[in-house]
Structure formats: C-alpha cells, structure tokens
Symmetry: C2
Subunit: 248 residues, 2 copies
Amino acid sequence: MKSIIHSHKSIRAYSSVRTVDDDILLKIVKAAIRGSNTGNMQLYSIVITSQPKIKQQLMPLHFNQPMVEHAPLVITFCADINRFSHWCKLRGTEPCYDNFLWFSTALTDTIIAAENAAVEAEYHELGICFLGTTMYNAEEIAKVLNLPKGVVPVVTMTAGYPAEEPPLTERLPYEAVLHFETYKQYTDEDINKYYSDFENLDKIKEIVKQNNLNNLAEVFTQKRYTKEAGNLFSKKYLDFVKKSFRME
Amino acid sequence: MKSIIHSHKSIRAYSSVRTVDDDILLKIVKAAIRGSNTGNMQLYSIVITSQPKIKQQLMPLHFNQPMVEHAPLVITFCADINRFSHWCKLRGTEPCYDNFLWFSTALTDTIIAAENAAVEAEYHELGICFLGTTMYNAEEIAKVLNLPKGVVPVVTMTAGYPAEEPPLTERLPYEAVLHFETYKQYTDEDINKYYSDFENLDKIKEIVKQNNLNNLAEVFTQKRYTKEAGNLFSKKYLDFVKKSFRME
C-alpha cells in the first residue's frame, strides 16, 4: 500500500457545507508539533484563523487568492523566538536567538511542523494548499495577526474538505533532483532531458502561447516571478526579518 | 487509526546488517518530490551519501555525531537555484532568483521535501534523525558534496533500520504553540504553565544538575546554544548564503 503522500494535490476549492471537526483539527495540530525540531525548542507558532472578518483582512495580502476567503481554515505558520525568549528571561538568563542562523533554524522547524500538518490533514481526507505569498507581505500579515517581535510568518496553509478533484501535478523525473554521493554537475543535455517532458505537455504549451512568449522559462522569468517583483519583495521580507530577528 | 506521524522518534542507532533496498529508497525520493513547492519550480536537490569515505569527510562537519558514520544513508537536502537557473539560461532568458526571498522560498520547499522523505521513511519502518548542524558548516559540507554556486545545504537526514527504541520525546502542551484567530500575547503565568511539566521531568532536572546550573533555560543559553557560538555560526552561514544566493 502506498502512503498518502504520493497522492498529494493542492486543493483550492473547499466544501462550503462540511466543516472541520475540532477533534480533527486537534489531530492536525498534534501532528505538527510531533515533528523533529532543533533541541526540542519548538521555535514556531501556529495561528488558525476562521473568522470571516480576519480572513478578509488577510485576502489582499495573499493577492486575493480566493481560497483565503473561502477555506474554512487559514493556518499561518510562524517562526517564533518570542515564546522561548520570554521563558529564558523569566528564568533569569539572556536569550540569544535573534540572528540569521536561528531564523533559518526556526524556519526549518516551522516548515517541518507545517508539512506534518498537511500530511495529517490529507490523512483525514481534507484538502490543503500552501500559500507562498506569506513571505511577500509578512509585515502586513504580522499586523493583522497581532504578531510580536520575534515572530515571523513563513507559510500559510488553507484547509477544508475538497470541492474539486484536480489531477496529480507533473514533477521533473526524480533523477533530475537526485544525486548519489556528491552533486552531479548538469550538462546542457541533462537539463534538456530533464525538462523536456514537462515543456512538451499540452497544457504547458498552451500557457506559453497564451502569454505570447517563446517558452516556459520565459513565463517564469518574465511573467510569474520577475526580477523586479522578486527584488522588491525580497527587500521587504529581509527588512522585516531583520527587525524581528535582528539578523547579524 | 492514527497516522504514523504521531509516533515519530529520532533514531540515532541503526542496524549494521539490514540495508535499505533501492525500491524503498526510490519511494522516499518520490515522496519528497511529491510535496508542495512554489510554482512547481522544485528548487531543491537531494544528495544521498552512503560511501564510508564521504561519510567520514562529513563526520567532523556534523561535530562527530556518530550516526553520520554509522547510518546506511546520509541524505543532504539542499536549496537549489542552480538547476532552474541553468534551464532558464539555456532557454535564452535571465534567471532572477538569487535573493533573500528566493533563498527563504527554496528553503521552505526543500524542508517540505525533507519532511515528506522522513514520513515516508518511517512509513517503511526506517528510522531517521535530522541534523541541524548542516547550517553550521554549510560551506565545508558544500565542498565535500561538490555543490556549485546556487546550491546551499540546509538540513541532513540520517536513515536506516532502527537499532534502538527510544521513548517518545515530550513536547510543550499543544496550547502553548496554538493561537486562534490572532496571536495571543503570553503572560508570565502562561509561560510558567506551559513550561512547568517539561521543567519538572526527572530527566530534565538531572540535566540541569549535571551542568551545575539553576534551570533548563540556562542549559540552553549557557551550554547548548550559546550567544558566542550562535553569532559565529550565524555569520558563517549568512556569508555563505550571500555568496551562493547573492541576497539583496
């Protein structure tokens, strides 16, 4: 029997009638915190938003992706040194986790918790979708969610019972991302081989055509994720993380 | 029935006789790449090391944690914009993903893949342990694994069939990390309540005593993860990530 991981699909449309029971939600949270984490410090927080009023405030910050409003659950996973630092101070010792290493470490532990939550949610037949937009407007999202210094939102997961059944998304052949012993240096031929199946999908060709571009790589660099937007949002995120984690 | 996530334990001792079959390894890799990822760009690489010679080179870089030598599999998960950028250039368009946002994004997608691999490994009755030390000596690990510019190691997982059965590790009560609608501001009473069960465990009291310190928070800040070490390794990691991802 295959584990459910192999059938993961991002779900963006949710049942408006079937709600998520509290006991299921609790299992998802408990799965999240069972994940591996550095030194058992649990440097993350999980904010579950379901009130329409707050979801509507989050909507534009996620570039109006409709599932933020329509998903029963909008779960924001945050790297969090605030709680641990508070505990250290209360025990009379100086916390020292506001730097780049600990941001990266807390981010790692937060994502492990988030992916555990995703797998557990799917185990209970919910559908989920991760929103990468959390990093684009992290400071504004932090304001809506009332996050203090030392707490940085890193990823958002919408969840609910699926109201759609999309096909499995294609991935590169596994050989493309897998290296034995040490990293293989890719030749041009390797790259052509690994990407060609994907580029030759009818739906990909249609996307390229609709954008009046020459190929899929141009769709990525000139439409979806441009240098201008990337540099703008990168600076915004870095400034906010620096404010929140100091970042030496 | 509970999902296997709820019984996760880090395994640091592995069977020296039972090897991991290739078909199991392939399922683990396929589970990793099935995970959610930004724009389906798959900005990660998975380096599986099993040769003793290379594992021995990695050993000191992971502060001589014995499982690096003794685990049948040492799997280094890397944030990777090299392959995607190579593809963009080959298609005649300029890649633009060398900044802090895309490092954080690639890190996120890499960890989702890594945690999927962990859950899948445990589904097949393997034991795993994540090593956070990867970020401490990332540049040196990159040298051993022959990683080019644009590829940053972020986490390492050792894997094999377990030769130990440790108890489940305690976590904070789930209420400590869970917030409804918006972030709850912790009072001193909250912190005392959430951490007290953990602090009062016999094994924790023993650790505090062995270190001649007053409490567990001091063990963290003065022994395990000190400010001096944190700032040193933070600077090292940031310098390396900047070299590899530019980081504006």
